[in-house]
Amino acid sequence: IESEKFQDDFLMEFNDTLLITYLAMFTNCSSTMNELVDKFNTTYDRH
């Protein structure tokens, strides 16, 4: 298939997947950050 319409749709799907990957990466980072904070709090908890 060699058409502009196909390229448009194809790149749209490409971008959507990249967007989902990006968001998942952020979610992963947030989770890791949260774990770090909890570990920090546990380690240096005054009580």
């Binding site: 989902i20 979610t27 947030s30 904070v37």
Partner: protein
């Protein structure tokens, strides 16, 4: 007094039933099936599209009705937008904790 409205209603129902299985339909084909001039078919389609009863657009150059996938696409983007919003507030909460 009501003949025109009745005619429009009946034609709308038949038209919706006719275009249901297709994603791209030629306007001359619809006009042939409905036994209605092309101009009237176009007007009918315009009113259906504006009322959101048909998802799509009319290609006047090629005399085509192209039915779009918009609803499914919107659902996905709405979900992604929701994810994005929740992620933003989660990030803010975690930043505050930090």
């Amino acid at each position: 007094n009501y003949i025109e409205d009745l005619l429009k209603n009946i034609r709308t129902q038949v038209l919706l039933k006719l275009i249901k299985p297709y994603t791209r339909i030629r306007l001359p084909f619809i006009s042939e099936e409905l036994n209605v001039p092309e101009r009237d078919v176009e007007q009918l389609l315009v009113s259906l599209i504006l009322d959101n009863r048909v998802n799509g657009h009319i290609d006047q150059v090629n005399r085509l009705l192209e039915r779009g996938d918009r609803s499914k696409g919107m659902k996905k983007y709405a979900a992604i937008d929701k994810w994005n919003t929740q992620l933003r507030s989660l990030y803010q909460t975690i930043s505050n904790r930090v």
